[in-house]
Symmetry: C2
Subunit: 313 residues, 2 copies
């Protein structure tokens, strides 16, 4: 039985690192810089160096480490290979093979949104479930699908790309993906700000949101809590898009729990009310009571999920 | 290594039975009646009797049979139990336990739409894939989700209930499930007939469909093949609803192939054109080239899938 494992979450500017027990206790976390120059040639060597240094510092022998689980911003196929990662300037990369060779440890790689989902299932908002959908409402809308306790990567490594579900025919400008009308355009932090701006432009109605610079999701939900009618309409529209989309996603995988994370979720349980109400309106009867939870691991979800990928090796 | 297995597909009026080799060769198929009286008390004993009789007839010993895989019309949980099956007048039923005891064989149970999906993955339109969505366009719209070569049952046994995705806000009369605007109401055989009737009522335009009694999906697609403009609009609307919904489903599980079955699929490859065109319009870029295939096992898909569930035991 191994005792320790590492969870690594590679972002475009920093790499989050965690040393865990295989039972999921986070012993120490730290960050290193993501050096993207030279087509990201330093990224994996830097990770290898920091992991080996941590083992040296703590006096941890290689044979007590179950492995390194790593999340990267791009689609990872079933063999742990990444065809491309725009933010890291990587082309094709055999992450598991290369990092394994550098460290002598077992390595498992997955997409970063997916390891966040696995982390929330292990020790977060989805703890106790083995079939879960995580929706991350940040600058964009990401997702991760957990089936039978494991990440569902999908045939093209694109399972859980639920932010790009076509839900809003009224949106005529393109999403980052090139399509128009994506869930991300109406349910992300920027999407909620967009809906609020539309509401403000379409009426002269008094509102706490009027004249506020830098409208964001937090300001919208703060106004909702104050009973602001216009903000409540924005929350309803957001909840309508996301709740309805989630009812469709649930008809595919029938999760035990739907976990809502990302910056927007910091508005608190009130956002679950608007999402769940609209979800239950359209969900198939057998799915109507599916549980909704807020994510609780925040930016640590990725390192938890990375650790979970290798905890049982 | 076992040599034989049985696939059983329980319907409301007949029970389809198949004797297979574990490699998936259908050696013999037959049907018995579904006796639903006495709350379906005879259903499992009748299946046990017909399986044991077939083994006797063929001189097959129990130790050369890997098991019985059975599909039933209702949600089956992870333990092979069925909370209810309206068509069979069953309440809670431990199918695997009861049928196993009656026959002395290993039994695996699943939902009938799901075993059809597994059959199509094994020897049908999805052969060669391990990650698939089957859509069955019949009187209703059913579905089955295959992940990593196995049926995804879902937490409530309701994974793949994609016929009840909310896609058509214009539909104000209730679906069989009680909701309004379900995919089933616009993409099933009856749904296509509904769309055609609407088109006929909303114009005086000449059409091959005008004045035809018993409009059905076949007549619509026959007229499409003749270049009938009104029928083509119906096909476009059908393809728009189904293709868009499939693009959303694919963003959840990222299948290698989407297989279209059921009575409507008998219209042939032309329906794939209308579905795939609309799918590709809205799919996330990485998912745009997902393969579309017609189901090929017809009514035998369920017995194939049943056999596959136990072929490797």
């Amino acid at each position: 039985m191994k005792k320790y494992c590492f969870g690594i979450d590679v972002g475009g500017t920093t790499i989050k690192c965690g040393l865990f027990t295989v039972e999921g206790v986070l012993l120490e976390k730290w960050e290193i810089k993501t050096r993207t120059k030279d087509n990201g040639a330093n990224v994996l060597p830097d990770i290898a160096a920091t992991v080996l240094a941590k083992m040296g510092e703590k006096g941890i022998e290689a044979d007590s480490v179950s492995g390194i689980g790593i999340g990267v911003p791009g689609p990872v196929n079933e063999n742990g290979c990444l065809p491309y990662a725009v933010n890291l300037h990587w082309g094709f990369k055999d992450i598991e093979g290369e990092l394994g060779e550098m460290t002598g440890l077992s390595v498992k790689a997955a997409n970063d949104a997916n390891i966040a989902a696995l982390g929330e299932m292990w020790k977060g908002g989805g703890a106790g479930s083995r079939n879960m959908i995580l929706v991350t409402l940040g600058t964009g809308v990401g997702g991760g699908i957990i089936i039978d306790g494991k990440i569902l990567p999908g045939y093209h490594g694109a399972a859980g790309e639920i932010g790009h579900a076509f839900v809003a025919p009224k949106i005529k400008d393109p999403c980052n993906c090139g399509n128009c009308g994506c869930l991300e355009q109406v349910a992300s932090a920027t999407g909620i700000a967009r809906l609020a701006k539309e509401e403000l432009e379409n009426s002269d109605e008094d509102s706490l949101l009027r004249g506020k610079p830098d409208l964001d999701a937090k300001k919208v939900f703060d106004a909702v809590k104050e009973g602001d009618a216009l903000a409540i309409r924005v929350a309803e529209e957001f909840g309508g898009y996301l709740g309805t989309a989630l009812s469709i996603f649930a008809e595919v995988t029938d999760p035990q729990v739907i976990v809502i994370g990302g910056g927007v979720s910091k508005a608190g349980p009130i956002i679950l009310d608007y999402i769940a109400k609209n979800y239950r309106k359209h969900a198939f009867p057998a799915l109507r009571e599916t549980d909704f939870e807020l994510a609780i691991l925040g930016n640590d979800a990725g390192i938890y999920g990375g650790a979970k990928m290798v905890a049982d090796l």
